[in-house]
């Protein structure tokens, strides 16, 4: 078992290398440093020696192209090598062939808003705490991760809650659960600069309203946020003025540092917002402080769809069975995704797990189609659209050669209630298999399915 962990680490190194390569290729027009593709070359050479696996016979939904009947998906070294019709994909000699006739294959699902892992970032001391990282609170043994895999999810944006104007930094994770991860670092996605990938959680509306120092009104909420961003702008200016002179730099401030990253566009704001006027407030603040924002939940987005489209703000929408439960959700509609789609807004769908269950992520997309969204749009909303909102579409979100081999094998139509996720593969490794009773328990629920801790036998004489 330990060996395979080392193996995974090797693959990971290759993945990061290739990630750079793909990025350089995709951004050919940009002035990307040429040495990044140079460092990727040895990794690419290494891939040629990896085992190749061909999944043949399935209906393949690549997302970035037309569905393929009886297609072939070729993976190697944790990456997608090729995908296409049987007569167009060359299966190399010695490749392992897996017959998946009658099944459906599509990319692993991307959840742009999840709370799995016993999240606890900002505490009650202040409404704005961007310096706090949710990654420092996550229990990787939380059974929620297993349920997410059972639902076909492979990438999550794990967010702190909405009870603050900013409750801290989010973390993007890949569900590398073919064996139990020991720490958040085993599943956290790395940015190209080696840092932990993630955004910043912000919220407005009623959730962050409480006794001072929290805001009591919407006006106060926006005031408090503007005040912090203005401070951060001054901090940014001091840093710029200091140049390389360490003595002139202001003392490091984790909160302001994070807001500077946000204003520099390095960190996306994931902004909880329901009501139409709150949505407009987010767009106003994003324009004032020039931050990149993903509108999260967007329950009344259907009322201001054109304004959202004009601001080019992507939306990550929650789809709920019934309206209400809080005043801001009273006008929630199944039609929200459809109206936004028609207005030309980029739309993803999220679970907000535990608000909806990761095992039923497809169900949210199904209800969006019930509300008028196109089927293509709904499947895109579970995959590529989300990947783009996390700045990860170079490596995930579609079955595209060069991307991570994150995919799921389904028993049928993705949007049918009767369909089950049979297998979930993450970076070329099977991380969930419904035919394994231990995995099936997480898919159906049952005795022990929500126990957080896996048995840990290190100290009791077991191997």
């Amino acid at each position: 078992m330990l060996l395979s962990k080392t193996g995974l680490a090797c693959l990971l190194t290759a993945a990061i290398g290739l990630g750079c390569c793909v990025a350089a290729y995709t951004n050919a027009a940009d002035s990307s440093p040429t040495d990044s593709s140079a460092t990727a070359s040895p990794a690419a050479d290494g891939l040629r020696q990896e085992k190749v696996t061909a999944f043949v016979g399935a209906h393949i939904i690549p997302i970035d192209g037309e569905p393929i009947d009886g297609g072939v998906l070729l993976i190697s070294g944790g990456k997608i090598v090729d995908v296409g019709p049987a007569d167009a994909v060359q299966i190399p000699d010695g490749a392992e062939t897996v017959d998946v006739s009658g099944k459906v294959i599509m990319p692993g699902l991307v959840d742009t808003h999840s709370h799995i892992g016993g999240i606890g970032a900002a505490d009650g001391s202040h409404p704005i705490q961007p310096g706090v990282r949710v990654m420092d609170s996550i229990n990787v043994r939380d059974s929620g991760f297993k349920r997410a895999l059972a639902g076909g999810l492979t990438t999550l944006n794990i967010m702190p809650g909405s009870g603050h104007l900013s409750s801290g930094q989010t973390v993007y994770v890949k569900l590398r659960f073919d064996e139990q991860p020991a720490s958040i670092l085993d599943i956290a996605i790395r940015r190209e600069d080696g840092g932990i990938a993630g955004g910043l959680k912000m919220a407005n509306g009623t959730n962050p309203q409480r006794e001072p120092p929290y805001p009591g009104t919407r006006g106060k909420a926006a005031y408090l946020v503007r005040e912090q961003f203005i401070k951060a702008r001054e901090y940014q200016q001091k840093l710029a003025d200091a140049g390389d002179d360490e003595s002139k730099k202001p003392p490091r401030d984790l909160n302001l540092e994070t807001l500077v990253e946000v204003m520099q566009g390095k960190r996306v704001v994931h902004h909880h917002t329901h009501r139409h006027d709150d949505i407009m407030t987010v767009l106003r603040l994003a324009e004032e402080f020039n931050f990149r924002v993903v509108l999260q939940h967007v329950s009344e987005g259907w009322k201001v769809a054109d304004e959202i489209a004009n601001a080019s703000a992507p939306c990550s929408v929650i789809v709920i069975d019934s309206p209400g439960g809080k005043l801001e959700a009273r006008d929630m509609r199944y039609e929200t995704c459809s109206v936004l789609e028609q207005a030309g807004v980029r739309v993803a769908i999220h679970t907000d797990d535990w608000i909806t269950d990761s095992r039923l992520f497809f169900r949210s997309a199904g209800l969006a189609v019930r509300g008028g969204m196109t089927r293509e749009g709904a499947l895109d909303a579970l995959t590529l659209a989300g990947a783009e909102m996390l700045d990860l579409s170079d490596s995930i979100g579609s079955l595209t050669p060069g991307k991570d081999a994150d995919f799921i094998i389904l028993s049928g139509d993705p949007l049918s209630v009767y369909t089950h996720v049979e297998q979930t593969w993450v970076e070329g490794t099977k991380a969930f298999d419904r035919s394994d009773p231990a995995d099936r328990l997480y898919a159906t629920g049952g005795y022990g399915a929500t126990h957080d801790q896996q048995p840990y036998f290190c100290c009791f004489g077991h191997q």
Partner: protein
């Protein structure tokens, strides 16, 4: 408080307008044609017709055999089912806004309040009643929620009607009782433990038994009768079998407590939620007790940590009478939809028709209202739900709803 008051003022005129705009639905000579009609008695009918006159179904069968009388309004749909029954809900009490002024499902001043009637708490115009109606739910067993040891009475209503009096089928079906962590109090309040819950409940039932005995001893002599006591009167009805004791219990040990209590006092027991019932099938079967299974998509937390999508299928297989429910939600979604909850059981062990039965005929039988609703048969209430495909599919729409022979929704939802 100020903010809430202002908002109420704004909402009020809108509500009035909405009420005026509700058109009185055309009664009642209607023929419904369905590519498939699930009557829930016998095989589904391909190319079927249901004839409705006034409030009742007067004929159902193949289009080959039944002629649609002249002048009847004809509705068509791919799939026609009986109006759906939500076997346990709080709609009409747990209002859409989730603010203090619209939350009537739980009164926490006393852990034992069986005297409270559901009819006195039901808002027939709450938007969630309309919401579930437009998805095909025509009958709900609703009332006081789980969460207190004995939280009050429940009733059965149609999801259409200007007032509770218009809507009601059974003004008192049962008394809601909770044997779970949800009924546990903190600090010095009771009940603080499971042992205390059972002690309190037994004490109450013993008092009710004595109250009944005094009544019986008094016979016709008014002077000897004990003073009326709504609490004991209601529990007395439970002991006499006139009302069910609906016990919400999830852990196996709590289910066992409910069965033990029933053994001691002999009341009609309905198990509710029952997340771990799949570990107790022999005991539940032997007791002959029905189970209103928790919503399939309830969150697996606390006492329900071990819940399973497959519980309904396992109980059905064991021969235990079951029905599905939307349950109680304290946040979002404020109400679940029984149709959706049953759909998940159809994907997890129950056949399509078994799953449909959990929200139609089986629910009607469990609730004792199968003489009126739950199937498409002559002389039953003309309650139908119309769909443009398999009702359980996420992407299917409910396209029409008929209650008491009136077309109450033609929204596509």
């Amino acid at each position: 408080m100020k903010r809430i008051a202002l908002r109420a003022l704004v909402i009020l005129p809108l509500t009035v307008i909405a009420a005026v705009m509700v058109t009185s639905p055309a009664a009642a000579q209607i023929a419904v044609r369905g590519e498939t009609v699930y009557t829930m008695v016998g095989d589904p009918i391909a190319n079927g017709v249901v004839i409705i006159n006034e409030r009742k179904i007067v004929a159902v069968g193949s289009a080959d055999d039944i002629e649609i009388p002249e002048g009847y309004r004809v509705l068509e749909a791919k799939v026609v089912t009986p109006g759906l029954i939500d076997a346990h809900s709080v709609v009409g009490l747990g209002g859409i806004d989730n603010q203090d002024q619209d939350q009537e499902q739980l009164e926490a001043s006393n852990p034992v309040q069986p005297g409270m009637r559901a009819i006195d708490a039901y808002n027939a115009k709450d938007p969630l009643v309309e919401w579930v109606r437009t998805l095909g739910i025509t009958t709900v067993h609703t009332g006081h929620a789980p969460g207190e040891l004995v939280s009050g009475q429940t009733m059965i209503v149609k999801t259409y009607g200007n007032t509770v009096e218009d809507a009601v089928i059974s003004s008192a079906y049962g008394v809601a009782c909770t044997l779970s962590s949800d009924a546990q109090k903190a600090g010095t309040q009771s009940p603080g433990t499971r042992g205390k819950m059972l002690a309190m409940l037994r004490q109450q039932l013993i008092e009710a038994r004595e109250y009944l005995a005094k009544l019986e001893a008094a016979g016709e002599d008014e002077a000897k009768k004990p003073a009326r006591d709504l609490r004991l009167e209601t529990l007395g009805q439970v002991l006499q079998g006139e009302l069910k004791l609906i016990v919400t219990a999830d852990r196996a040990q709590d289910i066992a407590s409910a069965l033990r209590l029933r053994e001691e006092f002999g009341f009609p027991l309905v198990l509710d939620s029952a997340a771990e019932a799949y570990t107790m099938t022999d005991e539940i079967k032997a007791a002959g007790v029905p189970v209103i299974v928790h919503p399939s998509m309830y969150r697996a937390v606390g006492d329900r940590g071990n819940m399973s999508f497959e519980t309904a299928a396992k109980l059905k297989e064991a021969g235990i009478p079951i029905a599905l429910q939307s349950g109680y939600e304290s946040y979002v979604p404020k109400t679940r939809v029984a149709l959706y909850e049953a759909a998940i059981t159809a994907a997890n062990g129950l056949s399509f028709e078994e799953a449909l039965a959990t929200i139609t005929i089986d629910a009607a039988m469990l609730l004792g209202i199968n003489d009126r609703v739950g199937s498409i048969e002559s002389d039953k209430d003309a309650d139908l739900a119309l769909y443009d495909g398999d009702p359980f599919e996420y992407t299917t729409h409910c396209v029409g709803v008929i209650i008491n022979g009136q077309v109450v929704s033609e929204e596509v939802r």
